[in-house]
């Protein structure tokens, strides 16, 4: 058994949504499609979908790739007349899954975030840096973390994770993964 399994998560649909997050209509609209509005630095995961807090006026919505277009259409219909920007960004980013007891150690080598269990807990979401690139991290379960970066640096991040795992004394196993948030 290895200490961490690292894999890319394919097939994730992503929708960038910029709006006044205090608009009651926005929260109601998210709930109508089964998503809870996330608190700052949190991600609300519901089955194969999720809503992540990106900034005081931006959310990132996850879901199965095939459902992205209809979901945008539903949300747009519900938000007509409310000033917002919604756009499919499914291809802009790459998500990695790090599973196992070594996952936090591998990420802690490069991110200025306190990743201790109990401090960075399930549902926590943090935009930060990993090594030299912009990244976001979140916790699905204590030993099951996610890392997101822009697609153009995905190879760099993959290399970085391998090196970080080695430096942390963790044996990484690179796996293909299932599409889930």
């Amino acid at each position: 058994m290895s200490d961490v399994e690292i894999s890319r998560v394919p097939g994730l649909g992503m929708i960038a949504l910029r709006a006044d997050l205090d608009e009651p209509r926005l929260a109601a609209t998210l709930r109508s499609v089964g998503l809870a509005p996330p608190a700052p630095r949190r991600i609300e995961i519901a089955g194969d979908a999720a809503a992540a807090w990106m900034s005081p006026d931006e959310l990132l919505l996850f879901g199965p790739d095939a459902e992205t277009a209809p979901r945008i259409a539903d949300l747009e219909a519900a938000l007509v007349g409310m000033h917002h920007l919604m756009v499919d960004v499914s291809d802009a980013r790459t998500v990695f899954r790090l599973a196992g007891p070594g996952a936090r150690l591998v990420l802690a080598k490069g991110a200025p975030v306190d990743l201790a269990p109990g401090v960075f807990a399930p549902g926590d979401f943090r935009r930060t840096r990993l090594g030299q690139v912009a990244a976001a991290l979140w916790v699905v379960a204590d030993d099951d973390l996610r890392l997101m970066c822009f697609r153009s640096v995905a190879e760099f991040v993959g290399d970085w994770l391998s090196v970080s795992a080695r430096a942390a004394g963790v044996a990484p196993v690179l796996l293909p993964a299932e599409p889930r948030v």
Partner: protein
């Protein structure tokens, strides 16, 4: 303390992040001679076995002008600007009028700093009544995105506008040259005819089964289509394009052929013709600066005495007396004889210089004191020791100055 301890893991592939486009692996397997462009790596040219770099660039230029070329332009910045005040906001950010752009059309725009100096350029496409897509330079996407956010958050917070950086969402592939339309027609799925898609228009549809936004815009002077597809489909589109283009003589081309072709047309490149002290007017781009708008970033600065001096450095074209001689980039023109002691007064410098395969001679662009009034003058560019290159000042559009090749 060893250097290794300081460097740590920052060596080899981890020394610095290299941004890669969707078609990077194909380029690497097909002769890409790489060059860094901001944090990206881009093919400078595609080398064939035994071919020298200059030979490849010449081949790629001529093939694009005569048949059709394929360029990976994915690194261009793409900023989505949306909201009821989007047009008003872009009228403040760009020097030209953007709000009057009809939906479905494209317009070239310039952005200046508060001091009036040009810092980015690109084509704006109006996607909808309240939605614009702003293309930026490859190195400028993050800077322009941050620039827009800063103005919206600190100065014009009353404007209802949201922006999003979509640079990574799309692969962008330019299909360029006299057979480009034929090639897209062979790919099938969209009407790309002259009536449906005139110069400076765009259409959304499907090409070869891939969702595409096709912009008919040109940085080469040839009829040209820049096709944006979802980044995950970039390689599939590239493959389909190569299949459709093969019988038409399609060849991929790199950044150097792009640079040569834009210089043949006298089109500026941010960072070559600009250095943070150059205004649009210096570059002969006054036509892209609105005289009617009440305000835009840089407007008041451009009215200051030093920015309207007639003897400012202005962009000109240069033709060397010996057409085989290519001026070195950065070469200075001197006023009079080179002095033995003390500084020799200089008039300006070469900003871009190439051997033009299309014209079979060297061409150059330069920023020269009062250049706009020097057409026809011959200038001396001392290179080294007794070697001096003489060049005639000309208008900077060397090839098809009337744009007839676009009108098809």
């Amino acid at each position: 303390m060893t250097l290794g301890a300081l460097a740590g893991e920052a060596r080899g592939s981890l020394f610095k992040p290299t941004r890669k486009t969707s078609m990077d692996a194909w380029h690497d397997a097909n002769g890409a001679h790489w060059e860094p462009v901001a944090d990206w790596r881009r093919p400078y040219c595609f080398l064939r076995p035994g071919e020298a770099v200059t030979e490849a660039v010449t081949r790629e230029v001529l093939n694009t002008r005569r048949a059709v070329g394929l360029l990976d332009a994915s690194t261009l910045g793409k900023i989505l600007v949306a909201g009821p005040d989007a047009g008003r906001f872009l009228d403040l950010i760009y020097t030209g009028v953007i709000s009057s752009l009809p939906v479905g059309r494209c317009r070239y725009g310039l952005m200046c700093t508060e001091n009036g100096f040009l810092f980015d350029d690109g084509v704006v496409a109006r996607l909808g009544e309240q939605t614009f897509l702003c293309h930026t330079t490859s190195g400028g996407s993050d800077r322009v995105h941050a620039w827009m956010e800063e103005w919206l958050q600190t100065e014009w917070w009353q404007l209802n506008v949201w922006v999003a950086n979509l640079t990574e969402q799309f692969a962008q592939i330019a299909v360029v040259g006299p057979r480009s339309r034929e090639m897209l027609e062979a790919m099938g799925g969209m009407d790309v005819g002259r009536a449906a898609l005139p110069h400076m228009a765009f259409r959304e549809g499907v090409l070869a089964g891939v969702p595409a936004r096709v912009h008919r815009i040109s940085f080469s002077g040839e009829i040209s289509f820049e096709v944006a597809v979802p980044a995950n489909r970039g390689q599939a589109f590239w493959d389909a394009a190569r299949t459709a283009g093969a019988p038409l003589g399609l060849q991929p081309y790199g950044t150097e052929a792009l640079h040569v072709m834009r210089a043949e047309k006298g089109f500026i490149m941010i960072g070559d013709e600009t250095d943070g002290t150059v205004t649009p007017q210096d570059l002969g781009l006054g036509w892209a600066v609105s005289k009617k708008k009440a305000d835009f970033v840089g407007k008041r600065a451009q009215e200051r005495p030093d920015l309207v001096r007639p003897d400012r450095k202005q962009m000109v074209g240069l033709l060397t007396e010996d057409p085989a001689v290519v001026l070195p980039d950065g070469a200075h023109a001197v006023a009079g004889e080179v002095r033995g002691t003390g500084p020799t007064p200089t008039l300006g410098h070469v900003t871009s210089s190439y051997f033009s395969p299309t014209l079979g001679r060297s061409i150059a662009m330069a920023l020269i004191d009062g250049g706009a009034r020097r057409l026809g003058e011959t200038l001396d560019f001392p290179i080294s020791g007794a070697i001096s290159v003489r060049a005639r000042v000309v208008a900077p559009a060397f090839y098809d100055p009337d744009g007839l090749r676009l009108d098809v």
